[in-house]
Symmetry: C2
Subunit: 138 residues, 2 copies
Amino acid sequence: MSHAEYLLRPIGRVESVLVDRDAAPKQGDEGAPDAWLVFDPGMREGIRDIGVGTEIIVLTWLDRASRDVLVVHPRGDPDNPLRGVFSTRSPDRPNPIGLHRVQVLVIDGTRMRVRNLEALDATPILDIKPVLAPATER
Amino acid sequence: MSHAEYLLRPIGRVESVLVDRDAAPKQGDEGAPDAWLVFDPGMREGIRDIGVGTEIIVLTWLDRASRDVLVVHPRGDPDNPLRGVFSTRSPDRPNPIGLHRVQVLVIDGTRMRVRNLEALDATPILDIKPVLAPATER
């Protein structure tokens, strides 16, 4: 099967104390630090309705991942049997898109501080989505 | 701010009876039909551990979206006040990545039938992720 390819243009970057993949928590709720989302000035209108306290979903491009990996030892532990990457949250995968649910702590212009983000410093931000309420409340 | 750009290579495509954006449900739980995820044969190892009944997160590229949109009328209703796209689930956004939580109904080789997917026919699939259990069960 052949496909078109698509070009991602990041809307900003993460600023974090995390710089080392091996030292980073596997998930945000496993002790990840608070971090800044730094949006491009051109994205100001897009983020204007995000308020402090909001829970948001951050999509990132895990730019230090390997894209030619289809099976991994979960959580990087060689004692864990190999598993198809699409059944894991490994950053190594054909399209290394990170999915992070975080809470907004501070908004300062086009900078947004969020709680417990496991992404490394300088990770490109692709998209922000609201957390959806159940269908009955929409 | 200037950024590198990144190239997405789809891992498969959606097969759905939905072909018209205006007729498609806004969300999967708003009456979306069951649909097939058709993976490239080269992705077989990556999906090998996904079982029938599993809840998965499907990331897609909403290839019929507009990428130069930063504010929208939510749910396409002009009576709704304009809102920054990053506070909405509008497909129109700088990087139109779709996020869909679905249940696997049938697996047939590299084809996977899933429940209630609102993506249009032929939508490129970018990634599949497991739904994470709470941290205590990981």
